[in-house]
């Protein structure tokens, strides 16, 4: 289990390599990488984004990510997980977030990675501000993200 909140970029291949080094019990690794897009809106709107400022709540962020990661390990037979989330000023095309889930089995790896992203989007204290030609604008939380997180709720 590994959590990092940082301004620096990350290397997907290096993270995967580190997680698998010296072991042969892992059968499946799923990674999710989130990137800054150059257009606003969920449909790929017309408005150009020049940059994105990512603010977070130091202390609570690490706690929230650790809780999310621990919950994934409770739900699925995972051999390793990594969560990296950047903050600060980012440009279109830049990587924002990386989630890696490793398991003996592919379905557990897929489900855990999707779960980590859904929970991270609704529970981790990050806020995005987009710089557009019309000025800065805080990104609204999306109902779809709440709905996506909701599907993991146990009855």
């Amino acid at each position: 289990m590994s959590i990092r909140v940082q301004t620096e970029d990350f290397d997907v291949g290096a993270e995967v390599a580190e997680l698998t080094a010296g072991r042969a019990d892992i059968g499946a690794i799923v990674t999710f990488t989130g990137l800054v897009r150059d257009h606003a809106g969920s449909g790929g709107g017309a408005e150009l984004i020049a940059a994105m400022e990512l603010e977070h709540y130091p202390g609570m962020t690490e706690k929230a990510l650790a809780e999310i990661e621990a919950e994934a390990h409770q739900r699925w037979p995972l051999q390793a997980t990594t969560i990296i989330h950047r903050f600060g000023r980012l440009s279109p095309g830049d990587r924002i977030v990386l989630v890696v889930a490793a398991s003996a089995h592919r379905q557990a790896a897929f489900d855990a990675a999707a779960f980590l992203m859904d929970y991270l989007k609704t529970r981790a204290p990050f806020w995005k501000k987009e710089e557009t030609p019309d000025g800065g604008r805080w990104v609204d939380a999306r109902c779809e993200d709440d709905a996506a997180a909701e599907r993991w709720r146990k009855g």
Partner: protein
């Protein structure tokens, strides 16, 4: 009591962190009323509480939660990470 503001709440209030004498505030909602009474910036920041979330000592809480024992209160909009 330490009070933190993030994202547009921080921008509207003009400060990211401050020490607040919570006085007689028993709940988060009481604290918000106290802050709103300060000046127009706080009143604007807390104008629409449906867009405000709170964490007590770095754990998400409800707006009617008790402040008893809390050392750090943070106000912010719904999160948009990932």
């Amino acid at each position: 009591m330490k009070v933190l503001y993030f994202a547009w709440l921080r921008e509207r209030i003009g400060v990211g962190a401050e020490d607040v004498d919570a006085g007689g505030a028993a709940t988060v909602a009481d604290l918000i009323e106290t802050l709103k009474g300060r000046d127009a910036r706080y009143a604007a920041a807390f104008g629409d509480l449906s867009a405000v979330r709170v964490a007590l000592d770095q754990e998400q809480a409800e707006l009617d939660a008790s402040l008893a024992g809390a050392r750090e209160v943070a106000f912010f909009p719904p999160v948009t990470g990932g």
